[in-house]
């Protein structure tokens, strides 16, 4: 059970949060101009890494804000939390 540091509320128990899948997958600005394959890439393809992964989380039972998390899925260590719209760390 994670202890998650919401960037707006502080440390809260995991059960207040909802996981929202891989982060930094931007919705294409012009979907109609994409091929089926390109659209499928956006729609379906997710990395699901064993290791360091960038994720979206939502403080659903709190401030309801979405934010980003860098988590090592192999040991569940949360490396970093940063707000939506902020650039992901390079390393």
């Amino acid at each position: 059970m994670f202890l998650i540091n919401c960037p707006y509320c502080g440390e809260r128990d995991q059960h207040e949060f909802k996981a929202g899948g891989e982060a930094h997958i931007e919705r294409p600005k012009q979907p109609t101009e994409l091929s089926d394959d390109e659209w499928a890439e956006y729609l379906f393809m997710r990395k699901n890494i064993k290791g360091v992964q960038f994720e979206r989380w939502n403080h659903a039972h709190g401030c309801r804000k979405w934010f980003n998390m860098v988590r090592d899925t192999s040991n569940d260590q949360i490396k970093l939390i940063y707000k939506m719209g902020e650039k992901p760390p390079s390393e």
């Binding site: 128990d13 931007e26 109609t32 089926d36 804000k65 979405w66 569940d76």
Partner: protein, 1001 residues
């Protein structure tokens, strides 16, 4: 006359208080402080159960939570009955009744003994190979197996007890109150850290408290006297909470632990009443100190499972702590010095020790010398090759071990005995450590797995960290605590410790016998009856992974999770497969450490508190008017309103006709309502709905369909434009929360530039929907000065108005196809407005209808219900709702997916109407539809999604999804049911008033 095998009184047992209890129907007594196991042993009862597979007699083996055999059913045939209770942990109380769990029909009668005789035919994997195939035979085996399997009985009645949950946040949690735990907790608390100390036992002090080890001295006192003083001081500390009878069940990530605090299980029945039985502690600790100790290992030899064969440390604990004599003639069998402590302890209490069998060649330690001086014969380099005695051990046979330990030589020594204490070394209790995600390392010298990499702010101290001698425990604890707690000193930095320092051990995982392995029974897992032979068989059959061997042989899969035999199983696998134990790894220990009862897990969330439910403001009226309710999400919705013993069908038929013939009224308060404001509100709706919103006039309503990005229908509802930058969206009852979440997600992450604000207002409004030809007259009576003309208040528009002085919002929208009005008022006026409608509608026989009639009426009109007629695989095109998909809009959620090759296929399942050839047959929802009856395999075209008998059309109607159904209008299809085939024809899904004339009637 019951026996009472006690030595001179123990300070932990109150011999002045006798406690009567029943075991397997027979009356016994023990004393206050006894566990069921200690009391039974005092009564010379060793046989407590039968083994799982071979039904072999089994006795008490241990004195703790690792017990594999003495598993009992408590208070059978009462509402407090509980299976899987370990007799070694169960404190006796007046009136306790317990029985052996695996002993059908009785512990002394051998029904499954037949399995023991035919055991060559019951090897590993036997259950998989035999009973599971052929499948049809399972029913025949099942009765026999289930009865003799000893899995315990769950209570049939409601649990009468109260359970509780409590959150605890602390700086330091210390698990285990042995010497390490006591010292750790004391020093944490003394350094101003808020500390919680828990232990599964009822006494603090672990083994140190009773083990008067001859050669262990702290500050020149016996270690037990010294720890007692420490405990006295500990109890005076302020920021320390101590919880005994509290077992940590799970250690999750981020130092989140679950513990069960047992509050009344040791109390008499009358004292249990009205008290909380168990409390689940949800602990979040900044730092965790595991001081969980070590479990003694048995040795694996032929017939090592007879009643009377116990762990050496257990024999000692029963004598020291409970004052109980486990046997009158004791033998110890060991590979290290531990057994000598037990032997000496018994000897000093005047209990006879016949011999010590030691597989080592010798040991020169002080304790061994003391045993020797006591005149107890020691047989070096010997192993036990067999044991005798069916329901109770009566003798053992030993032989000399070969130098390499793989075989035996010489002649047999037979020793008559009734108790054998076995000492195979110590296994650190690393279960919680591994649960937390910690990684182990294998210590080749001591043959133990030790904590290596921690996954959170925690340390393991004492014997669970591999420190077995009191000197190393105290020295290492002092160093580790200072570093972990970041403190300068501990209060035991300078204590003087004397302890026996001989660690010599000869480790042989599987001890040889004079008979070959196939003819012996060396049990590795007592609870699941797995022998060394089974493990070797699994390896021969090609299993290599420890996790596979575990499942195939069931080793370690009992309620004890193989706490005793796991290491031996690993050792035997490693030896046989010739791999290193460290490389083999270990099986995963999963929570809970010991079984938890469901009551503890659910706590107070039972009965009406099981889940949250929501009631509408009109709920009381529905109850008074005898509505039946159905659950829709968390809502309790009125389902139908039966009058004079009407069946559901009769009530729904009456309600449906009334709604079309005169007037009906529905409580629609549960529909999700989202208030949308902001200068970009119209643009936002354009992006989330399939149709266009920019041109919707203020005061107008529009139906919208919302898709997922994959193009599948997600939700629907009517949205009303209240002002230039202000809308109110309605969603389905069940979808409200998810729709809000999805909209917020897009606003926060994809379109943060949009100026839009969302507020859930579902609970703020109550909604009464009146429909039918007389609805207009009824509304006119309620609000006489509102102009209800088509010009002023047409279909799909709304009015802000007042009912007397209550503000209300009226939408002229319809889900039934009838002329209707949805009256929205502030929630607390809901019931008053509903009653006003009923009063005004009385002369028109206004009829309240529930969700079932609503479903029927909309099905007559072919309106879909998202989640009933759709299932996450339906696009609007599949639903034949092309009209609602804007061709002009550049983009909206899911638009691109509607042009994927897959979503454009002609033979997708499409929504159609179905009519039965016999208009009186009502189809079953979910029934499969086919075009050919005698095809193999059958080509399944789709299924029925909604089906009703329409009282207004006087025939059966249905909606269905059918592969390529759009182009099958008029086609005859079949619905094969269990005992008949129903002929159906594909029809237009709009069955009633296809021209929508009634909307404006």
């Amino acid at each position: 006359m019951a026996e009472n095998l006690r030595v001179k009184s123990s300070e932990f047992i109150d011999e002045t208080i006798r406690v009567s209890f029943k075991f397997n129907g027979k009356e016994y007594y023990g004393f206050k402080g006894d566990t069921l196991a200690s009391a039974l042993l005092a009564n010379n009862v060793h046989l407590v159960g039968r083994s799982f597979k071979y039904h072999r007699p089994r006795g008490i083996m241990t004195a703790g939570s690792e017990e594999p055999n003495a598993i009992v059913q408590v208070n059978d045939n009462t509402d407090r009955t509980e299976p899987n209770v370990r007799a070694t942990e169960l404190e006796i109380y007046e009136g306790l009744e317990a029985s052996s769990q695996n002993c059908w029909p009785s512990v002394n009668f051998d029904i499954g003994g037949i399995n023991n005789v035919i055991s060559p035919f019951l090897p590993a994997g036997f259950y998989y190979k035999t009973f599971m195939w052929p499948a049809s035979f399972w029913e025949k085996y099942e009765y026999f197996i289930r009865h003799s399997a000893g899995l315990g009985k769950s209570p049939k009645d409601k649990d009468p007890d109260i359970y509780d949950h409590r959150y605890i946040h602390c700086d330091v949690l210390v698990v285990g109150a042995g010497i390490s735990g006591i010292l750790a907790a004391k020093n944490a608390a003394k350094n101003n850290l808020k500390t919680l100390l828990v232990d599964e036992k009822n006494e603090l002090g672990g083994a140190t408290i009773y083990q008067n080890r001859e050669f262990n001295k702290i500050e020149n006192q016996s270690s037990s006297d010294w720890i007692k003083k420490e405990i006295q001081e500990l109890k005076k500390l302020n920021n320390l909470e101590i919880k005994t009878r509290t077992s940590v069940a799970a250690f999750h990530g981020y130092n989140y632990l679950l513990a069960r605090e047992n509050l009344t299980d040791h109390l008499e029945k009358k004292e249990k009443q009205g008290k909380i039985r168990q409390r689940l502690l949800k602990i979040r600790a900044k730092k965790v100190i595991l001081a969980t100790g070590a479990l003694e290992r048995p040795l694996i030899f032929n017939n090592n499972d007879r009643p009377g064969i116990m762990l050496s440390s257990a024999v000692k604990k029963y004598a020291d702590f409970y004052g109980v004599v486990s046997g009158k003639k004791n033998v110890f069998f060991t590979n290290n010095d531990s057994a000598y402590e037990s032997a000496l302890c018994l000897h000093n209490k005047g209990i006879k020790v016949e011999a010590v069998i030691d597989i080592r060649e010798n040991s020169g330690s002080k304790i061994v010398k003391a045993v020797n001086d006591a005149g107890i014969p020691i047989h070096w380099s010997h192993t036990i090759v067999d044991t005798k005695g069916y329901k109770k051990l009566n003798s053992i046979s030993a032989m000399k071990l070969s130098n390499d330990g793989s075989s035996v030589t010489g002649s047999k020594i037979d020793i008559v005995c009734d108790c054998l204490g076995v000492a195979g070394g110590w296994t650190p209790a690393v279960h919680l450590f591994t649960q937390s995600g910690g990684k182990l390392t294998f210590d080749e010298t001591n043959k133990v797995f030790l904590p290596n990499k921690y996954s959170s702010e925690q340390i393991s101290v004492g014997s669970c960290n591999g420190d077995f001698k009191i000197k190393e425990i105290i020295n290492n604890l002092s160093i580790n605590l200072k570093e972990f707690l970041n403190i300068e000193k501990t209060d035991f930095d300078n204590v003087t410790v004397e302890s026996e320092d001989d660690n010599s051990k000869r480790n042989i995982w599987l001890l040889p016998s004079d008979k070959p392995l196939g003819k012996t029974k060396p049990f590795v897992d007592y609870q699941n009856d797995a022998t060394a032979k089974d493990i070797k068989l699994a390896l021969r059959e090609g299993f290599r992974s420890i996790e596979h061997v575990k499942r195939y042989t069931t080793t370690g899969m009992g309620t004890d999770q193989g706490k005793l035999g796991n290491m031996h199983a690993l050792g035997i696998i490693a030896d046989t497969a010739d791999v290193k134990m460290g490389e083999l790894g270990t099986t995963t220990f999963r929570p809970p450490y010991t079984p938890l009862t469901f009551g503890t897990i659910v706590g107070r969330n039972v009965g009406e508190y099981f889940d949250v439910f929501r009631r509408t403001p009109m709920n009381d009226w529905h109850v008074e008017n005898k509505a039946e309710f159905e659950n829709v999400g968390q809502w309790k919705r009125a389902w139908y309103y039966p009058i004079n013993n009407e069946s559901m069908h009769e009530a729904v038929q009456r309600e449906s006709m009334a709604a079309r013939e005169t007037a009906g009224i529905l409580d629609a308060s549960t529909l999700g309502k989202i208030d949308i404001q902001g200068t970009d509100a119209s643009e936002f709706l354009n992006r989330v709905y399939t149709n266009a919103w920019s041109k919707l006039g203020i005061g107008k309503c529009r139906y919208g369909l919302m898709l997922n990005e994959d193009g599948m229908v997600y939700d629907d509802g009517v949205t009303t434009r209240l002002g230039e930058n202000h809308y109110i969206m309605t969603t389905t009852t069940g979808g409200a929360a998810n729709v809000l979440g999805k909209l917020e997600d897009y606003l926060q992450t994809e379109w943060p530039e949009l100026d839009v604000y969302l507020t859930s207002v579902t609970d703020h409004y109550a909604t009464a929907s009146i429909c039918g030809p007389n609805s207009k007259k009824i509304l006119n009576k309620i609000i006489p000065d509102l102009d209800l003309s088509e010009e002023n208040f047409p279909h799909m528009s709304f009015k802000d108005t007042q009912i007397e002085n209550i503000k209300c919002r009226i939408m002229r929208i319809s889900f039934t196809g009838e002329h209707s009005y949805e009256i929205n008022v502030q929630a607390n006026y809901g019931k008053a407005v509903w009653e006003k409608c009923m009063e005004a509608g009385k002369e028109f026989n206004i009829t309240p209808y529930g969700t079932e009639t609503m479903h029927l009426l909309r099905a007559e009109k072919g309106f879909i219900i998202v989640g009933q007629d759709t299932d996450g695989t339906m696009t609007p095109i599949d639903l034949q709702m092309d009209w609602i998909v804007s061709k002009k809009k550049y983009d909206f959620i899911g638009k691109r997916s509607l042009y994927r090759s897959d979503t454009m296929k002609e033979d997708r399942k499409q929504l159609v109407g179905l009519l039965t050839d016999d208009p009186n047959i009502v189809l079953e929802e979910g029934a499969q539809i086919v075009s050919e009856l005698n095809q193999s395999p059958v080509n399944m075209l789709g299924h029925v999604t909604s089906s009703y008998y329409s009282p207004n059309l006087k025939k059966s109607i249905a909606l269905a999804v059918v592969r390529g159904g759009k182009n099958m209008m008029g086609k005859k299809l079949f619905i094969p049911m269990e005992n008949k085939t129903i002929n159906v024809t594909i029809a237009n899904p709009v069955f009633f008033d296809t021209e929508n004339k009634r909307l404006n009637a």
